[in-house]
């Protein structure tokens, strides 16, 4: 069944009221932007996530977490998206936690994440497009450990993270999944240059340069040469999660727009009376509903360990990316001039959509992956 259980509904209600109260654009996104916060999010809010147990949503119960699945993460992330709440929830509590589960590095970092003290980042992309198979950063054996050389970009919260999970090549050649190893690198490692970059949505991502960064052998997450296993866990969780967040962004933007259609008068009428706008709003509603169903289905299949999960994750990220793009574009257009102003919140949805669509691969990438998996 695709319907939620009572426990899931409760969790959703909790996340909904928590984020509608504490995670608002005014209290978080706008506030941290206007005060020039170097992290782009509030550590106080991250602590609140922890107090509610949410930082441990995906962390196994044996490690003190809630041990919940992609479905529960999606429910929270939809509300994160709706409120445009900046936090490390997606990257740290959902994606990185999945990579770390069942590893020694997990035992090391989980307590800090559970407490809301630790932020973890993922360093995957090396070029301007998401091509996770094309890892060129090298990790060469030296002494008791490895030496990392290369560069990464679009590392969300990279400059604020305590630990960065870095995909590097210990074998194989660029484009191959084998030979990729995942390392847990601490932020203050020698030779690691971090440039904190502000993105269009006012969030922070980093460009990292690894100038012969030396790490111990125990920095390896999982097994050497077999980093694709934890990496793909993180990618699936991150993609399914960002799809759900995009659904929230799309829904938040559409709700704001529908409300505006009911308030704004032109030509002596509420603009929502015009059929041209009604039909576009109704089409948008339809696209968002379908995107939500796809996001939930992807999460459900991931949680069930289905062999169709990966395909559906690509579908969900692609569909949610397109639905959200439509929603924010219609949002700004239907708001007219006020939609172009910084004073109005609708523009924040457009900016967040652009970033979230690219994160873990944009919709074109994922449509291409659907074709690749289907063999055409």
């Amino acid at each position: 069944m695709t319907l939620l259980t009572d426990d899931q509904r409760q969790l959703h209600d909790m996340a909904k009221s928590f984020l509608a109260e504490e995670g608002t654009i005014k209290k978080q996104l706008r506030h941290w932007r206007d005060t020039g916060c170097k992290d782009g999010f509030g550590h106080g809010l991250w602590k609140q996530f922890a107090e509610l147990g949410l930082t441990g949503i995906a962390i196994p119960e044996d490690n003190g977490g809630l041990g919940l699945g992609a479905t529960e993460a999606a429910l929270v992330l939809e509300e994160v998206g709706r409120n445009l709440t900046p936090s490390p929830f997606l990257t740290t509590a959902v994606a990185a936690a999945r990579a770390l589960e069942g590893t020694a590095q997990g035992n090391r970092w989980f307590p800090g994440i559970l407490a809301g003290d630790t932020v973890a980042a993922l360093a995957i992309d090396e070029g301007k497009h998401h091509r996770p198979g094309a890892v060129a950063t090298t990790a060469t054996r030296s002494g008791n450990g490895f030496t990392l050389s290369g560069a990464k970009q679009f590392v969300v919260h990279g400059a604020s993270a305590d630990v960065i999970l870095v995909a590097a090549r210990t074998g194989g050649s660029v484009g191959e999944r084998e030979g990729v190893t995942l390392f847990a690198v601490e932020r203050d490692a020698n030779g690691l240059d971090i440039e904190n970059v502000t993105l269009a949505d006012h969030s922070k991502a980093a460009r990292l340069t690894f100038n012969d960064v030396v790490v111990d052998a125990d920095a390896v997450v999982g097994e050497v040469d077999n980093g694709w296993a934890p990496l793909s866990r993180a990618l699936n969780a991150g993609r399914a999660g960002s799809a759900a967040e995009l659904v929230g962004v799309a829904a938040g933007s559409a709700d704001m727009t529908t409300d505006y259609l009911k308030q704004r008068k032109q030509f002596g009428k509420l603009i929502g009376e015009f059929q041209a706008l009604q039909h576009r709003a109704a089409h948008l509603f339809s696209e968002i509903e379908i995107a939500r169903a796809a996001a939930y289905k992807a999460a459900e299949l991931l949680d069930a360990g289905s062999d169709r999960a990966e395909l559906m994750v690509h579908v969900a990220k692609a569909k949610a990316g397109r639905a959200a793009a439509l929603s924010v574009q219609e949002g700004v257009q239907m708001h007219g001039g006020i939609g172009m102003t910084d004073e109005h919140d609708i523009g924040f949805y457009m900016k967040r959509q652009a970033v979230l669509d690219r994160l873990f691969g944009d919709w074109r990438f994922h449509a291409g992956e659907v074709a690749r998996l289907a063999g055409y």
């Binding site: 069944m1 529908t258 009376e273 339809s286 169903a293 939930y296 055409y376």
Partner: protein, 387 residues
Amino acid sequence: MAEAADLTQFREETRAWLEANCPPEMRQPVKSEEDVCWGGRNFKFQSDAQKRWLEVMAQRGWTTPDWPREVGGGGLTPAESKILKEEMRRIGARNPLNSFGISMLGPALLKYGTEEQKQRFLPPIVRGEIRWCQGYSEPGAGSDLAGLQTRAEDMGDHYLVNGQKVWTSYADQADWIFCLVRTSTESKHGGISFLLFDMESEGVSTKPILLISGYSPFCETFMDNVKVPKDQVVGEVNKGWDVAKYLLGHEREMISGMGLGGGTALLGKTLGEIDDPALRAEVAAFDVDALAFAAMSERFIDQLKAGEAHPAMPSMMKYAGTELNKKRHELIMAGGGSDTLEWESERTRKGKPAREWLRTKANSIEGGTSEVQLGIIAKHILRLPGA
């Protein structure tokens, strides 16, 4: 999520029963219109297997798995119905019976029919003995359906029906019709009644309409002094619009199923080699939409069965499903290049791709146009003003 023990048992029993009872020929994909079983008084079965498959399924009530046992249905819970569907899909079992009686009239009778009407009309639908057609649209009442003019005059012991219907699907092959008629001119929506009558009644005639596809799935239906007994009104007199709307919801649900393209196979897998990168990208984007819609469809059905679906959601499903189906056929034509333009050759089985492509253009018109559906979403879900 683990399946509950009783459901697992139901699944095993269902699987074993289907294995024993579904003839091998009925596990082959449907190749042409003739392979589809519509039942009815005049239906000619294509094979013994087709006949037997209908009989064994009907006997179990599994042509209508979730209808109550009292009217011959299967009495299955939503979860059990879903399992039956999954198990049938697993072995590629054909639908034993296509029927507007099942997909449209039945649900309306279950909700609005009298006990006597249910007992009289539902069991023959379950068994595929009576084939129904729908008399809704008229030459002057399409999108504005409530403007219909076909009159039913109260003659004391019966109604006398005069008027014309159009786009009556398969009226020339149907046994009975469910029909919207005007019983009062005092109010537009409040003067409509929902009437059932036999197509063999004196005064009923039909004429097929040739479409751009070269097919004639629709007819004009003429009623000239047709006598209809009074106990064949469903719901209250002059309140037929409620029945009609309820039924339209089910019709839209059925039509939205077209978006599934008959299965979950990806379009890109069926087109053969795609050497044009622009087409490949378009097909990939379509497959994303199609798989997402399949997820929506499953979710919608679950919500519907749990009573959690918004009453206007069938409009959304109808809109999205039909637009998707049109797109699917545009891409099939694009992928087939000039091969698919052949109208009569054996290579194309007499122009199947082109004719089907043209037929799909009706999808977003029949059962309420896409624009009508968008209007319903705007009014009832988004609650936009003046919609």
